[in-house]
Amino acid sequence: MLNKFKMKNKEKIDLRKMFMQPEYGTVLMLIFSVVLGSLLSPYFLDFGFLLDSSSMYVEYGIVALCLTFIIISGQIDLSVASMMTLSACTTALLFEIGVPFGFCLILGLILGMLLGFFNGFVITYFKLPPLIVTIGTLSLYRGIAQIILGDRSIGHFPSWFSGIDFRYVLGIPVPLLILTGLFIIAALILNKTIFGRQVYAIGTNEKAAIYSGINVKKIKMILFVFSGIISAFGGIMMMSRLGIARYNLSTGGELEVVTIALLGGTDINGGRGNVVGTFIAFFVLFSLKVGLSVANIKIESQLTIIGFLLIFSIVFSNFIYSKQK
């Protein structure tokens, strides 16, 4: 019967296909998490409170936007959280030594670029699997942060720098605006430029991409370098929000970043996914976390829920993609 239906009108089928996008699953999750949050606590649905608490997770959202590109191209970068920490720590250390602060920020971003470049270089030049390489650099970068700072924290940044989450434009906190702006840029790059199409092509079939004349190495390198820069940016934002830099900032942050990217319906095998999903998934994760925190649920239990979400999102998007075929 389904076949007849398919033969008769193609338009309806297209509509069905449209609704079989994993992004809709993410939207459903968002509704679910908001409902859950408001059921758990009466204080959850306060709009101002939600806006304020969004800044606490924006760093991860920004990095997840970049990670979406990497996962679509069939790679993965687990060292993002460590790159955030290392660039934040280096920036703080330079500030402590006495370098002018604006200069420190630029050097921090450049360091992020170098870290990303190292990742990309090892992966593309030696043709090693990115999973293991970035696990190695995850340990390495955080280790270096630990070496340079030891077990102390650096604070007392200039007053114009710290407290980015208390700046508002038109009543919206600045971090959220940054995230939205970066999301729009990322969506345009991914959907409207040649570069974006090439990223999809590499993820779908790397050999075919090579034979059709795409410089795969160069594009992978660009992706990893950008991942480094964006991570450094996220790390600096986190430093501004917390007012300090320590070696164990954002420990386990890679888990959250990967969860956001995968929850948005990006296929872990590459070739499929969208930044829109990641953007929505950021709100899913953030409203879940805020909801659980407001309901006095411990961080350890929240970790369990994130792990569960991660597995669920992989299974769900896999299911949808198999249906699409």
């Binding site: 090892v122 090693l128 190695g136 340990s139 390495l140 970068y141 280790g143 070496i147």
Partner: protein, 146 residues
């Protein structure tokens, strides 16, 4: 690993999935079995840990063990793409890591270096392994041509 049916099947699966399936190896069963063994061994290691320290804490025990374990396996010559490696090598890798750890303490280098050392070791081992593989395949090709 080397002398049982299961061990050979795992090697076969790692080096060429398609060939292994065509040879009639039940892939799903094999995957579930290997992960099951990994889980059981991890549980055993957890119990050993508890017996050694006399206390257990979900937030502290075994945090960051992934790096140590992965580093030990890679140093032991197990290729990350699958299909080769040996348990003996992994044991040697563990011993090497143990020596590095003790050496750091004996030489008076602060414990902060430990994590970075693991990272460096993982990446260096990966690169060396890859270079060796390239050289090996080069030699093989040369022999075939001659």
């Amino acid at each position: 690993m080397k002398y049982t049916h299961l061990g050979r099947e795992i090697y076969a699966f790692g080096s060429n999935k398609k060939a292994a399936r065509l040879r009639g190896i039940n892939m799903d069963k094999l995957i579930i079995l290997t992960y099951g063994i990994a889980g059981a061994l991890a549980g055993f290691a957890g119990i050993m840990y508890a017996s050694r320290f006399g206390y257990v804490n979900p937030g502290m025990s075994g945090v960051g063990f992934e790096f140590t374990v992965i580093a030990a396996t890679i140093i032991g010559g197990v290729t990350v793409t699958g299909g080769s490696g040996s348990v003996f090598g992994v044991v040697m890798g563990c011993i090497l890591l143990g020596i590095v750890n003790t050496a750091l303490a004996v030489l008076g280098i602060s414990a902060f270096w430990q994590q970075a050392m693991y990272g460096i070791i993982i990446i260096l081992a990966l690169i060396i392994d890859k270079l060796l593989q390239n050289r090996m395949s080069f030699i093989k090709k040369g022999n075939q041509n001659a």
